[in-house]
Symmetry: C2
Subunit: 224 residues, 2 copies
Amino acid sequence: MSKKIEISEKDPSTEEKIKEAARKVFQKKGYAGTRTRDIADEAGVNLALLNYYFRSKEKLFDLIMGETMLLFFQSLKALINNENTSLQEKMQDFTNQYIDLLISQPQLPIFILNEIQMNPKGLSERMCLHQVVIGSYILKQFREDLGNNDIPDSALIQMIVNIIGMLVFPFIGKPLLKEIFNLTDEQFQAMMYDRKKLVPLWIESMFSNPINPSYFTLIQNIKL
Amino acid sequence: MSKKIEISEKDPSTEEKIKEAARKVFQKKGYAGTRTRDIADEAGVNLALLNYYFRSKEKLFDLIMGETMLLFFQSLKALINNENTSLQEKMQDFTNQYIDLLISQPQLPIFILNEIQMNPKGLSERMCLHQVVIGSYILKQFREDLGNNDIPDSALIQMIVNIIGMLVFPFIGKPLLKEIFNLTDEQFQAMMYDRKKLVPLWIESMFSNPINPSYFTLIQNIKL
DNA sequence: GTCTATATTTAGATAGAC
DNA sequence: GTCTATCTAAATATAGAC
């Protein structure tokens, strides 16, 4: 509390070292699986300093998780509300942005999804994800692209799920895919770079194919 | 060890009650997040009985995880080696089977993927996933369908990742999707049933679109 | 087989010297 | 701000009565 921003930025402050280590260990092992001692070791600092700087394991986790969610979702907001790009351009931007992010931090999706599973209301609500997505400009563009009237909202959601899945799933499944296909980290990464070109094509072909409204359960009547 | 199979199958034996409870709690909270007390409570039995029957938390977990992996992957093996079904039929079978399984146990994918992340070699190796997939009949069918020669193996993997992702990702993302789109469990489930018809269509359109080999990083030279 | 009581181990947090 | 030593709480595991 009485702590101010460090004046010099030579090498990372102890506080910063701990945060960096915490991010890494929490992402790898999850909250329950992480020992505070692991974080201290990873940071190369004394265990007692964690409590000195962050009060408790839980507070440290909340801090990291908040920052992580922000990193993951904030860039999205500007992108999906940009009124100057076409749907196709947005898909390409989206793809580039997320694949680059996830190549640098592959554990991000499973980390976030685990947290949301443990605590569904908590953080997703704080990010106002529902409002952000529902009120977005991209949603209008999606509707127009699909022909507006006769396609139910559930069809839209199905498409969006596929798009997010194509970007995110390979990283969630990374350890499994590496095993199944005997991939090195380099090969996996090269494949993810390829995806920057491929995902927009797959999206395109998904949208250009005619969709039969009868495929969708209309009774449930989902309204966005 | 000295324990034999129960003769009568009236109501679940204590051992079975514990296993069932363990499955449920481990799937929901993960290994580290689970307290043995939670399992005992969930099963409605005394805590000491867990150790009486299963020796330790870890042994109980290994047992559950082994069974879970078997459930998830064994049905796959017969299906992908069936020489009497076309690729299209396989895709439909695959879809039906996995969506039904996952609707009844939505936590399965994230549970398994978490475990593999914590312990990548361990269980996936015991299931021989690499051998099973590489030697499968379906892989030949995929190659034929794609025109055999000029498509690199990495393209095949990309496709397979998409297929698995379309089936599995919605369940991994379920808590997040429910938040974003304000879905009830019933609505989510109805959408997953819709997917039984939709996924094969999307796969079809993905395959029927011409693929340009230049989209793939050939240098990495992945060979299955 | 099941229970109560307890031992053991592990992990988060803090006091107090420097 | 940092460290050592220690406290406390929680969770796993077991001993022994029934």
